[in-house]
């Protein structure tokens, strides 16, 4: 089970500024828990961001992206009210999509 992302997409001028926080463990596979057992790797590998069905960014991540990842970028060609969708998929096959309207 995963928790919702926190996405903000704000239009200023002709650019949309996207800021996203994603709830994910991003376990490296190198960390031991308090009992000394190695915690298996669990991290997001793919992130795709679309606006109106068009890709505005796609990313590949390794385990060294921070826990609860933060991402920011800018793109042009979108209007207020249009939907921005972020989808991630991790190394265990889990996936999640969240959507916001551009403000």
């Amino acid at each position: 089970m995963s928790y919702p992302m926190k996405i903000r997409a704000t239009l200023s001028g002709d650019k949309v500024e996207v800021k996203a926080l994603i709830a994910h463990e991003m376990e490296t596979g190198f960390r031991k828990d308090t009992a000394g057992t190695l915690v298996p790797a669990h991290y997001i590998q793919l992130v795709t961001i679309q606006c109106n069905g068009k890709s505005v960014l796609s990313a590949q991540w390794g385990p060294s992206v921070s826990k609860n990842p933060f991402l920011t970028f800018r793109f042009s060609g979108a209007k207020k009210g249009e939907k921005l969708n972020i989808t991630w998929q991790d190394n265990l096959g889990e996936t999640r999509s969240d959507e916001v309207a551009i403000t």
């Binding site: 650019k15 490296t28 190198f30 590998q45 793919l46 795709t48 679309q50 069905g53 068009k54 890709s55 505005v56 960014l57 796609s58 990313a59 590949q60 991540w61 390794g62 385990p63 060294s64 992206v65 921070s66 826990k67 990842p69 933060f70 991402l71 920011t72 970028f73 800018r74 793109f75 042009s76 060609g77 969708n85 989808t87 998929q89 991790d90 190394n91 265990l92 096959g93 996936t95 999509s97």
Partner: protein, 157 residues
Amino acid sequence: MQITRRKLLRLGSALSVLCITAGSALFRTGSAWASDIWNKNAFSAKAVDEVLKAFGGTHAQPSSEITLTVPEIAENGAVVPVIIESKLLNTRAIHILVEKNPFALSATFDIPPGTDPYIGARIKIGSTSNVYALVRTDSGFFITQKEVKVTLGGCGG
């Protein structure tokens, strides 16, 4: 053998953008897609040069047209903010690398037309290390670097 695999991966990487754009329905059908698209070679490379090779590059030219912003000293290596902005023409991809991490490559971003060559992210840095911004453009790879000092914090236990 190696070369063929690399070529395939490069092709896979290029295709991935298309696949993802093609629609989220396909993308979500199973974990097979993640493991196919994800550039395992690049992400399991230990050294910066190996990562460059995995992306099909042979040489990365140092460039002052890439702005890499990182803190000089990080209070905690678990979260180190990184901002990369490229002024190079036709920037297609931005990669974040950490020299001393077990695997050098941290993240890679494909920049489609219409999206600024600008990325802000947060990464883990195991110990004091150089951080690299590696940028792929239509005319090859460019690179810049900065050192981040990772300190021990708090009461020490």
